[in-house]
């Protein structure tokens, strides 16, 4: 993939500057946090699962580069309202497709940090970032 300004397409910058679902979530049933030790990017996810095993609410907190934070914001919009089983089945390809930008190997870690944290929150072990 070519490395160019494509990485900073409008939708990425939009999610970075105006993050969706950012903040704390009262009554969250699942929480997880992780950071990218190389860059210090940090993502915390708060998930509220309802009675019919659906992700009723999801919020994120964090700090870091545009790619990690935009990807976290996009992920929350993606999984909100999703049946738990679908969220559990979510793979890196789906997330990368939604991001829709060319990424170098190092920046892939930034892009996948939030998915990794989601997996942690859902009690899954899959290490998506490597």
């Amino acid at each position: 993939m070519s490395i160019s300004y494509d990485m900073y397409q409008e939708q990425i910058l939009d999610h970075y500057k105006h993050p969706r679902n950012k903040g704390l979530l009262a009554g969250a049933t699942k929480n997880a946090r992780d950071s990218n030790p190389l860059c210090g990017d940090e993502v915390v996810l708060h998930v509220k699962v309802d009675g019919s095993d659906r992700i009723a609410e999801v919020k994120f907190e964090g700090q870091g580069c545009a790619i990690s934070q935009a990807s976290a914001s996009m992920l929350t919009t993606m999984v909100k309202g999703m049946p738990l089983s679908d969220a559990e089945g979510l793979g890196r390809d789906a997330v990368l497709k939604q991001l829709g930008i060319p990424l170098s190997a190092v920046r892939l870690k930034c892009a996948l940090l939030s998915l990794h944290v989601l997996k942690l929150a859902l009690g899954q072990k899959a290490d998506v970032a490597t």
């Binding site: 490395i3 160019s4 300004y5 900073y8 860059c39 210090g40 990017d41 870091g64 580069c65 920046r107």
Partner: protein
């Protein structure tokens, strides 16, 4: 104080010696501004290492035959060049290691953990150290009950020397400090620091990883007891480092690695060590690396370390002036180039350092971003990360201009 005479090296001639600087990055000129992480290598160094493998590869010190004599001569010749480069009294005060990191670990282990340090003894470091001058001392704390104390950094990026005086006690056994910070560029008053350490009977360990490549070093004038640096940051190969130690302190330091080469005699269950510095060089050393570093030292010596320093001061001053004129850009460390080296950490409002580095990369400009292995310092300045540009002998004002233009692009993207 008068500004030093303008010394600009002949950069086009120097660049011609560096094969990598001839390449492009996605059709853009390569602007390499990450020499603080590792420097590029001139063909003289590359040729010297390949020459070793193609003409006289043999293990050192053990072979009777001609090839072994040649390799030993070149390996020991490199030690002599390095001793002269930092004004050591004798080549026996120079031990080869793999890096600054190994050198500092060797001191912490061999002088601290296995040596003189007792429970309650104090080790004084600084907040601005690289992780490799923090973590080895944590080992001494954890295993020997040593007490660690740290000199703080002022907002201007210099050490709080008044506080240093207060931290020194008759329990202080080791003071450890970097000669030059890899984040702020600050050049620390190591001569003064060592003098005061000696007054309370402590030794002074110096991390010269960012200094040895960029300025003259005289270990006798500094009165440093140990001094560490890496070959790869000063035009040499990776995997070769240096530990300088005063003869009597080397004698009093235990080796880190046991094995071949570092022994005089071995019996079942016991061994007698070889003389210094060989007792620190267990196993087959990085022969090609040492020889390459010797040639790197030749290269720098030929330019002259005063001239290297003068050149970098000029570019740094120029870059700092240009960056100061950009709105929304902050630089860190001393503003006065006499007090700092060519390492320039900066941040841009609204853009994370990783994004800065990514966008500069699109322009062919290599800068580092992150915590630069100095998390305690980043915490002190309340910064999650910075971007960092660093200059060397092959950089010129065009490179500084490219950086400034790149920063403007970053600001456009994140406007």
């Amino acid at each position: 104080m008068a500004k030093p005479a303008k010394v600009m090296l002949n950069v086009p001639a120097i660049k011609a010696d560096f094969p990598i600087l001839q390449r492009t990055i996605r059709d853009k000129r390569l602007v390499y501004l990450d020499s603080a992480a590792t420097s590029q290598k001139p063909k003289q160094v590359i040729d010297a290492t390949s020459d070793f493998y193609s003409r006289y590869n043999a293990n050192v010190h053990r072979a009777i035959y001609e090839l072994g004599e040649e390799s030993t001569r070149e390996y020991e010749g490199a030690r002599e060049k390095i001793a002269a480069f930092i004004q050591a009294k004798s080549p026996t005060e120079i031990a080869f290691t793999k890096s600054t990191t190994e050198s500092l670990n060797l001191v912490a282990y061999g002088y601290g953990l296995k040596g003189k340090i007792q429970k309650g003894d104090e080790i004084v470091g600084t907040v601005m150290e690289h992780h490799s001058n923090h973590v080895p001392w944590h080992f001494v704390k954890d295993h020997k009950g040593a007490v660690l104390k740290y000199v703080d950094v002022k907002d201007d990026g210099t050490l709080r020397m008044e506080q240093y005086d207060d931290l020194l006690t008759d329990r202080t056994k080791i003071v450890t400090v970097s000669l030059c910070s890899n984040v702020l560029g600050t050049i620390n008053p190591v001569k003064e620091i060592a003098k005061r350490a000696h007054e309370v009977g402590a030794i002074c360990v110096v991390d010269a990883a960012q200094a040895a490549p960029h300025m003259p070093i005289d270990v006798q004038d500094l009165d440093a007891d140990f001094l560490a640096f890496s070959g790869h940051k000063m035009l040499g190969p990776t995997g070769i480092g240096v530990l300088y130690g005063k003869q009597e302190l080397f004698e009093a330091t235990e080796p880190l690695l046991g094995g071949g080469e570092m022994i005089r005699e071995v019996h079942l269950g016991s061994a007698k060590w070889n003389d210094v510095p060989y007792k620190f060089e267990g196993g087959t050393p990085n022969i090609a690396g040492a020889i390459g570093l010797g040639v790197a030292v030749d290269y720098l010596t030929k330019i002259g370390m005063e001239a290297v320093r003068g050149h970098e001061m000029e570019i740094t001053e120029y870059a700092l002036e240009k960056l100061a004129r950009l709105k929304g850009v902050q630089t860190y460390g001393p503003k006065d180039v006499k007090k700092r080296a060519g390492v320039v950490s900066f941040t841009i409002d609204g853009a994370h350092p990783h994004d800065i580095a990514s966008i500069l990369d699109v322009e062919g400009i290599c800068v580092r971003s992150g915590h630069h292995c100095a998390q305690p310092l980043m915490e002190r300045f309340n910064l999650p990360a910075t971007a960092r540009a660093s200059f060397y002998i092959y950089n010129d004002m065009d490179d500084a201009d490219a950086l400034v233009a790149g920063i403007k692009k970053v600001q456009e993207v994140f406007a």
